[in-house]
């Protein structure tokens, strides 16, 4: 893992059609030590800037002009495909997962899905941006916790302990083993045993790579 503070500040492009919010985010990120290289009011402009500036990260709203549907999401998918060096964070109003899987479909590496209200928590938000820029996946904890808390019948999930569920949720959020161990005050060794047991209970393959694991767990939770 290379979660090290980069020498140069991260270069960010922000796409958001509400001027006030766009400016606010821009100021916020600048103050947090990021380099806001450009801002866009619609998807076309975003794609242009992504190509021209090659930023480290692109932040985009889902709903954008002109169609006010999922233009931002489509642009994000396209950017990941076209410029793999640019990570994307999609800022969403949707706590449900209908857009999430479209975004993750190809490869969850360097992709983030964050709820809008998360922006206000500057530390969490910038942390998410940095993690995505470093190639991790970031799924908003609230989205994951709703999935985990869904009522189920006859599901192996019901046999998991509290602690195992907490590990599972963090895995679904895209956290690395190291981060999970740190957050839950566990030794990496114990954590690995937990994960191995859990995946076996759920009948999931023991994936070692984080991004594969994210998709597998999310898909399982959504089922």
């Amino acid at each position: 893992m290379h979660v090290t503070q980069p020498l140069a500040p991260l270069r960010v492009v922000i796409a958001e059609d509400t001027v006030l919010l766009r400016e606010g985010m821009s100021r916020l990120l600048t103050e947090a030590g990021l380099d806001v290289a450009g801002t866009a009011g619609d998807a076309a402009q975003l794609l242009h800037l992504a190509g021209a500036l090659r930023p480290d990260v692109v932040l985009t709203d889902i709903r954008m002009p002109p169609s006010q549907t999922t233009e931002g999401l489509q642009a994000a998918v396209q950017i990941r495909r076209q410029w793999p060096g640019t990570a994307v964070v999609v800022v969403s109003q949707h706590v449900e997962t209908e857009h999430l899987f479209e975004l993750l479909a190809d490869d969850p590496r360097g992709v983030g899905y964050v709820l809008k209200e998360r922006i206000a928590d500057i530390t969490q938000f910038t942390d998410a941006i940095r993690r995505v820029a470093a190639g991790e996946s970031v799924i908003d904890p609230q989205v994951v916790s709703r999935l985990v808390a869904r009522p189920r019948r006859d599901s192996p999930l019901q046999t998991l302990t509290e602690r195992e569920l907490a590990v599972l949720a963090l895995m679904a959020e895209g956290r690395s083993n190291q981060a999970i161990a740190g957050q839950l005050y566990m030794s990496p060794k114990t954590l690995e045993t937990h994960i191995g047991n859990m995946l076996a209970k759920l009948g999931l393959p023991p994936a070692t790579e984080d991004h594969r694991r994210v998709l597998a767990v999310l898909t399982y939770l959504r089922r």
Partner: protein
């Protein structure tokens, strides 16, 4: 023709027939019984046809003409009395019946002659047939010329056989010419008649054929001196004359039955039968194949009949009559003029047809209103959906963005205040918390108003989202991935949304299942649970949902036996 006159004529006819029978027993050589029967039958047949004609067509003089033929046929029978005067009268009037038959034929069916020329022809026939008899009587002495036992001829001037013979030679071509003219006129009448008029001419054609055939046979055998027995010639052959009156009486009976047939013809038409079927039924009922049923064009510029021909009610054409149906003037019957002789039948038919059309019009009106109501219901629902979409968008673009911006500003304020003023920090924290909760509530509210995901990604994503949110364990059995028209997607979505909300609220269910399948021509949406059942379809939620499904032209079924779960199924038309 007054009732009294009719009664007198009938009484006279009966008297004459009775007399016929009596005279066959008077002293002297008895007439052959067969002659008596034939004469009585033919005469009586015309009298009966006369009564039938009066009954059927009171306005026509046909009844009178039939009666006159009957009398003209029977009158010469006074000769049976074998006295000089009746014998002479009998011989004078022997051929008048033929003239009145020609009169009857030319005046068919109204009883009135069509033109001055035809009146002239009829006068000529009467004059010739009577005059010829008188003139030949002047020179005919029955006692010396073929009838030794006959009474005296009172008109006898000179019993010269040669004069009588010369007169006979002259009279044959004249008689033939007159007959040819009469026949030509009848043929012309027949050829110009259409529909009803032609049909009612059938008895006339038989009468004409019978008269011509009879006179040809009698003339030919007389002039050629063929040895055909008088019994055949005058006893049996005249029976052919019965054909005309018999057919007329039969057609009158049929016409009576036709009145009943009008009603059943209309009743037999199933509701909503096309107008051409109604026309055919009316044409059959009235016996007029030329009948047209015409409707006013929507722009009021004229009328078109059921086969698409333009009809001008002001100028229906030669021999055609227009009969309006109902009071609106929307439809008219155009029929053969001859039918005016059957005013009752026509009136009956017109009112039955008017009723059938009124029925069809009302039905079409109700149908149109129903369609309008259906369309307006659909529009109302669509307008409601559009309004919900607008509201949701306004919330998203307005209040939600502002709240996000607010939390952002609060976040920045928090980081500036960090470490400086703990009280301010905690104030900002609680403000942030409030703003965040407001944002969550607003998001839920907006989704409840209209799920943006439905317009953005379609039914599959929206249903997936509903299932994720459901507080009861819910699985999706089948869910088509494609897009559908907005109204159909919205309807299917609200069915699932309302059903899952009911499952959560009332069903006390352990699990629920959502199934959506695209079948031919429709989308089937099914939500079932394993809960308590007993859902009431008339509850306001389900009632509203049924209305909503109906507005999309679909049906909602609820199967909820107590204790065995609930199954909600909607079929939404989808092409």
């Amino acid at each position: 023709m007054s009732r009294r006159l009719r009664a007198i004529l009938i009484a006279g006819a009966v008297a004459m027939v009775a007399y016929e029978i009596v005279v066959s027993y008077v002293p002297g050589p008895p007439p052959e019984l067969i002659f008596v029967i034939t004469n009585a039958a033919v005469g009586l047949s015309f009298l009966v046809a006369g009564i039938a004609a009066w009954q059927r067509w009171p306005a026509s003089r046909l009844g009178l003409l039939f009666t006159i033929v009957g009398y003209a046929w029977l009158l010469p029978q006074v000769g049976q009395l074998r006295y000089a005067l009746p014998f002479t009268i009998s011989n004078i009037t022997a051929n008048i019946y033929a003239a009145s038959l020609a009169h009857l034929a030319l005046a068919w069916p109204s009883g009135r002659l069509r033109s001055r020329f035809e009146r002239g022809v009829v006068v000529a026939v009467y004059t010739w047939n009577t005059g010829q008899s008188i003139v030949s009587l002047l020179f005919w002495n029955p006692r010396t010329n073929g009838c030794a036992g006959c009474p005296a001829n009172l008109l006898l001037v000179s019993g010269s056989n040669s004069i009588e013979h010369i007169f006979d030679v002259i009279s044959v071509p004249v008689g033939l010419t007159i007959s040819a003219i009469v026949l030509t006129l009848i043929v012309r009448h027949w050829r110009s008649a259409r529909g009803w008029s032609r049909r009612v001419m059938v008895p006339l054609v038989w009468i004409s054929f019978a008269v011509v055939a009879l006179s040809v046979v009698q003339t030919v055998t007389g002039n050629l001196n063929l040895h055909v027995s008088n019994l055949v010639l005058y006893g049996i052959a005249p029976l052919i004359l019965l054909a005309g009156p018999a057919l007329f009486v039969a057609s009158t009976l049929r016409a009576r039955m036709a009145r009943g047939a009008v009603g059943s013809a209309i009743v037999d038409l199933e509701p909503g039968a096309p107008p051409e079927r109604l026309r055919d039924a009316l044409a059959r009922a009235l016996g007029d194949s030329t009948m047209q049923l015409a409707f006013r064009l929507p722009d009021g510029s004229g009328y078109l009949d059921t086969s698409g021909r333009a009809v001008d009610p002001a100028r229906p054409g030669q021999g055609r009559v227009v009969m309006p149906l109902g009071e609106s003037g929307e439809a008219v019957l155009v029929h053969d003029q001859g039918l005016e002789h059957e005013p009752q039948l026509v009136r009956l038919t017109a009112s039955a047809a008017g009723m059938a059309l009124e029925h069809a019009r009302l039905q079409a009106e109700v149908q149109a209103q129903l369609e309008q109501v259906q369309a307006s219901r659909t529009r109302i629902v669509e307008a409601g959906d559009a309004e919900r979409r607008r509201l949701e968008r306004d919330l998203h673009d307005g209040a939600q963005q502002r709240l996000v911006t607010l939390t952002l500003a609060l976040g920045m304020a928090r980081s500036r205040a960090a470490g400086a003023d703990p009280e301010l920090e905690s104030l900002i924290d609680s403000a942030t918390k409030e703003a965040r909760e407001a944002l969550v509530e607003l998001r839920e509210l907006a989704r409840g108003i209209h799920p943006a995901v439905l317009t953005e990604t379609g039914l599959a994503g929206a249903i997936q989202a509903l299932v994720e949110r459901s507080p009861v364990a819910t699985t999706i059995t089948a869910l088509p991935a494609g897009r559908f028209p907005a109204q159909i997607e919205a309807t299917a979505y609200f069915v699932v949304s309302e059903a899952l909300a009911n499952v959560a609220k009332h069903a006390a269910a352990g699990s629920a299942q959502v199934t959506i399948r695209q079948l031919t021509g429709q989308l089937m949406v099914q939500v079932s649970d394993d809960g308590a059942g007993g859902a009431k379809p008339e509850g306001s939620g389900l009632r509203g949902l049924a209305d909503r499904v109906a507005s999309a032209g679909g049906v909602l079924r609820i199967d909820s036996p107590p204790g065995s779960g609930t199954r909600l199924e909607a079929d939404i038309p989808c092409t």
